[in-house]
């Protein structure tokens, strides 16, 4: 079976600035594949190359066995694209957005009329059919954008930060819709910087930083490889953290001292917390939790603020 995506040494440079720097990865049919990374890591650039709307500078890229440099239109006919910003057509109604998008692919009118109804049901927007898209909530717009990306029955759906800016209810509804697509066998490629989203949706993911892939694996595998089973968070007050940390040697696998708290990466959080108390340091607050993808992410891409 042909792979959905094969990238080898994929590079995009704008003059001296290398946005994507020789990345290798592959995506198999039916897989749900995540691309994580801070702002400026090269996620969106990668997505646009996968979408055959941005030419690579060098390296090899095959989408469904085809080269986007030469077979752009055929590849794009296979794809559904959900860009970071909902670039819906605000001069049109909800149904007209779906209908015209289908016409861009050349799909016949009769076929589309039926398909638009199905997609409105999928996006739970039947009542909003003849409403201009300006009047929709953020979550509705996002669902409409996803529905629009499905007009041509894509075998690969590219989602660039699908739930950024949505409230928790809207996110959960959206995740549910994406799960259904996954069950139907659609291959998903998702960029996100929400770790819970990646853990929920992705079978496998890569972490990008500075245009390169810095880690690859399943969410659980990445946690195992780059973090511990549990994390203890203890606070001693902003001025004392550093001082206390000096006395915590030997506890846990690794300590991380932040301005407001100390993180103890640990195989058994309860045990290590007791050890801290036993050494005579009573934290103001303490929390034992399971390690998350967020710990991996921050470990790999650093904690300093990345500006847009």
């Amino acid at each position: 079976m042909v792979a959905v995506i094969r990238a080898h040494g994929l590079t995009k440079a704008y003059g001296d600035l290398v946005a994507v720097d020789g990345v290798d990865f592959g995506v198999e049919p039916g897989e749900s594949f995540g691309v994580l990374g801070p702002n400026g890591a090269g996620k969106s650039t990668t997505m646009r190359m996968l979408g055959a709307t941005l030419q690579r500078t060098s390296g090899d890229l095959a989408i469904l066995g085809r080269d986007p440099a030469h077979e752009g239109p055929i590849i794009r006919a296979h794809l559904g694209v959900v860009p970071q910003q909902d670039n819906l057509d605000t001069e049109l109604t909800v149904a007209e957005n779906l209908y015209t998008y289908g016409r861009y692919f050349g799909l016949p009118r009769a076929h589309l009329r039926e398909r638009v109804d199905g997609l409105l049901a999928f996006a739970q927007l039947e009542e909003k059919r003849d409403v201009k898209v300006d009047a929709l909530s953020g979550g509705m717009k996002r669902r409409l954008t996803i529905a629009r990306g499905l007009v041509n029955e894509p075998s690969l759906l590219l989602l660039d930060e699908p739930t950024t800016g949505l409230d928790p209810q809207a996110r959960h509804i959206l995740w549910d819709r994406l799960f259904r697509l996954k069950e139907d066998g659609v291959t998903l490629v998702i960029t996100t910087h929400y770790m819970d989203e990646a853990e929920q949706l992705c079978d496998r993911l890569v972490v990008m930083d500075g245009g390169r892939i810095v880690a690859e694996g399943s969410p659980q595998g990445l946690i195992r490889a780059h973090s511990t089973r549990e994390v203890v968070e203890v606070r001693f007050g902003s001025d004392r953290n550093l001082e206390v940390a000096a006395h915590l040697g030997g506890i846990g696998r690794r300590l991380e001292i932040l301005p407001d708290r100390i993180l103890v990466y640990s195989d058994s959080g309860e045990h290590d917390l007791q050890e801290i108390v036993a050494r005579g340091f009573m934290p103001v607050t303490s929390l034992v939790r399971r390690s998350s993808l967020e710990d991996v992410f921050l470990r790999l891409t650093g904690r300093s603020l990345v500006d847009e």
Partner: protein, 280 residues
């Protein structure tokens, strides 16, 4: 119900069929899908703005043709004295074709390009840059031609057309609108802010006021006449006046060729710019 993995769907089959034709990477043969979008947007959002475009040239015709015309009397053209209203009518027709096409391909196209993200959306489907260029220019051309035809009806109702040659004003208006639309869209593709677009008015208004719209350019010194004759609006006005008053000579063919070249070059440049902006 939503999809089947890696199936050859209808959209893919259409794209594969097209891929066997030449130019398939830039043209999918579906600019009509973009016209359809324009039509739906007109119905849903832009009807009022569209309708008011018919009014402006009529206002100018009444105010200048009859108001100022009362002061001017007649103007000589091709050895015949014609009323002032009849003199400016074909020029206003040319200007309305220009304005309809230019407004659509400058402000509207800029809005669609940078605020709606419409062309990026279109080009993430199997459409090519030439589809988008042809569709949008075609839409502006329809708009410009609609204004011109509406104005022609008014002019005829006022009794200002005298020969059947005036029917040729319709295809002439279409050609003029096509050329201005191509030019407008090419320019807009290089703009980065609305403010830059405003400066376009600094070319449009002088063209409107000084290209022989309201008085013969023979009042100018010779060198300035040459400059004006090179501008597209003067070319359009000369074409329209020639047809209106039945002054048919080799010059008309020259004007037609001028617009054919302008339209083709503009279309080519627009398609290239769209490709560079959204597919590179």
């Amino acid at each position: 119900m939503i999809t089947g993995a890696l199936a050859t769907t209808a959209a893919v089959a259409i794209a594969e069929r097209r891929a066997r034709r030449p130019l398939s990477s830039v043209y999918a043969g579906r600019s009509h899908a973009i016209l359809l979008r324009g039509l739906l947007a007109l119905r849903t959002s832009n009807a009022l703005a569209f309708m008011t475009g018919f009014v402006e040239p009529v206002l100018f015709l009444v105010a200048f043709g009859y108001g100022v015309g009362g002061l001017v009397g007649t103007v000589e053209i091709g050895g015949v004295e014609v009323p002032y209203a009849a003199y400016i009518a074909p020029a206003l027709l040319a200007a309305s074709a220009m304005n309809g096409a230019i407004i659509d391909t400058t402000f509207n196209v800029f809005f669609k390009m940078h605020y709606l993200g419409l062309y990026r959306t279109m080009m993430s489907t199997s459409l090519g840059p030439l589809d988008v260029a042809l569709g949008e220019i075609g839409w502006a051309m329809i708009r410009g031609a609609a204004y011109a035809i509406g104005f022609l009806v008014v002019v005829t109702a006022f009794g200002l057309t005298t020969t059947w040659w005036a029917l040729l004003l319709v295809p002439a208006a279409v050609l003029v609108a096509f050329a201005f639309a191509s030019l407008g869209m090419t320019l807009t593709s290089y703009m980065t802010s609305f403010q830059q677009l405003n400066w376009l008015n600094f070319f449009l208004l002088p063209m409107f006021l000084f290209s022989g719209t309201f008085y013969p350019i023979t009042t100018y010194p010779q060198w300035l006449q040459w400059v004006i004759e090179a501008t597209p609006l003067w070319q359009a006005i000369a074409l329209m006046r020639g047809l209106t008053f039945g002054v048919l000579d080799g010059g008309l063919a020259g004007h037609v060729a001028y617009f054919a070249v302008l339209a083709t070059v503009g279309l080519y440049l627009t398609a290239r710019r769209l490709d560079a902006l959204f597919l590179r």
